[in-house]
């Protein structure tokens, strides 16, 4: 079984090497690809100098476009399993094998690494947790399925979902929307507990006025998924 880790990277020069090493050590059965989303801080330099397997976007596409590039790559190179993995030190590669096992054993189409099943590790700030609960409730209302961590960026998918995402993937804040899309298609989504760390480098893309835009945009996006049928 060919397995790929997709690492979207935008200005992650301080942590990208650590993330790749983490994967090489703790999840050696996985291949990886770094998607450099037109970083301005020399992330590309590091990828070249250290010979990281990378794909270099020449126009900044945002997280959605970068991750989608990874899914297209996974389809082109005939991977059976693809998993998203943040390059900023939040995610722990030690969970990847466990996720792959879950994907195969439960015959799921997607496995999400959830922070909120065993409530261990970094739990995000209070206000954000409220937002995440709200999305969780909204998705449950619209699809009848329970997803405890719909915003988790640590998600493993099989070939089927990979191909769906290669064709269609939201541009910004893509996680809740894309989960809803495949749930509406009747795909099976399961979750396993993972521990996430507080990011080591960079700041979250969500905060202040952006968070208002985030809530409205993602809510509408989820509702639109419902309308698409």
């Amino acid at each position: 079984m060919k397995k790929l880790v997709i690492i979207p990277a935008y200005n992650e020069c301080g942590s990208i090497l650590k993330a790749v090493d983490d994967i090489k050590i703790h999840a050696p059965s996985f291949d990886y690809v770094v998607i450099n989303d037109c970083s301005t801080d020399g992330t590309l330099d590091i990828c070249r100098r250290h010979g990281l397997n990378h794909v270099n976007l020449s126009v900044n596409l945002g997280i959605g476009g970068a991750v989608q590039t990874g899914y297209i790559y996974a389809c082109q190179y005939d991977y059976d399993v693809a998993v998203q993995f943040d390059g900023d030190g939040q995610h722990d590669a030690a969970f990847l094998d466990e996720m792959a096992q879950e994907l195969v054993e439960t015959d799921s189409d997607m496995v999400i690494g959830s922070r909120f099943i065993e409530k261990e590790g970094f739990q995000s700030s209070g206000l954000r947790r409220v937002g995440i609960r709200y999305f969780s409730a909204l998705i449950r209302l619209l699809t009848g399925k329970r997803v405890t961590d719909p915003t988790s960026g640590m998600r493993m998918v099989n070939r089927d979902v990979m191909q769906i995402y290669a064709k269609n993937y939201p541009k910004d804040y893509p996680e809740p929307e894309s989960v809803t899309a495949i749930l509406r298609m009747g795909k099976k989504v399961t979750e396993i507990p993972v521990v996430m760390k507080q990011r080591e480098e960079g700041t979250s893309s969500i905060g202040g006025l952006r968070s208002v835009y985030y809530m409205i945009k993602v809510t509408l996006a989820i509702l639109m998924e419902r309308l698409r049928g």
Binding site: I35, L57, S58, V59, L61, G65, Q68, T69, Y73, K171
Partner: protein
């Protein structure tokens, strides 16, 4: 009723804008395809500007008191339509750019891989030939 002075001012403005528009198309800084809707608006405005009586008929029909308001109202509506069509075009463009960017990136990756393969193949061939020479 519109004053003749206003009629002339509007008329001149329309002619100036039209000239700029044509000039930009000539210099290819504006696509004729996207300029067509602007030209249609200008023509409609010019028509009403020259024959305000026509406006009275339409504004009476729609129940608007002053014909000049009618011009502004129609202009406003047309502008909204054009802006909306631009938003549609923008969405389409950003999707195209996204796909193009991804394809360029993946092709570049493929190219690098092929180059590396070619290089190692050449090296292998070189070594083989070298060993042949040694054997002879």
């Amino acid at each position: 009723m519109m004053t003749v002075k206003l009629q002339i001012v509007i008329g001149i403005a329309i002619v100036i804008v039209f000239t700029i528009l044509v000039n930009m198309i000539r210099r290819r800084s504006l696509e004729l395809k996207y300029a067509l809707s602007w030209m249609a608006v200008l023509c409609a405005l010019f028509l009403f500007d020259c024959a305000p009586k026509l406006l009275i008929v339409v504004s009476d029909f729609l129940g608007i008191y002053a014909p000049v308001n009618m011009i502004f109202f129609l202009g406003f509506c047309f502008s909204l339509v054009i802006i909306f069509s631009l938003t549609v075009a923008l969405s389409r463009l950003s999707n195209s750019i996204r796909t193009l960017d991804q394809m360029v990136a993946l092709n570049e990756k493929r190219l690098q891989e092929l180059e590396a393969e070619l290089k190692s193949a050449k090296e292998r061939k070189g070594q083989e030939e070298e060993s042949k020479i040694w054997k002879n």
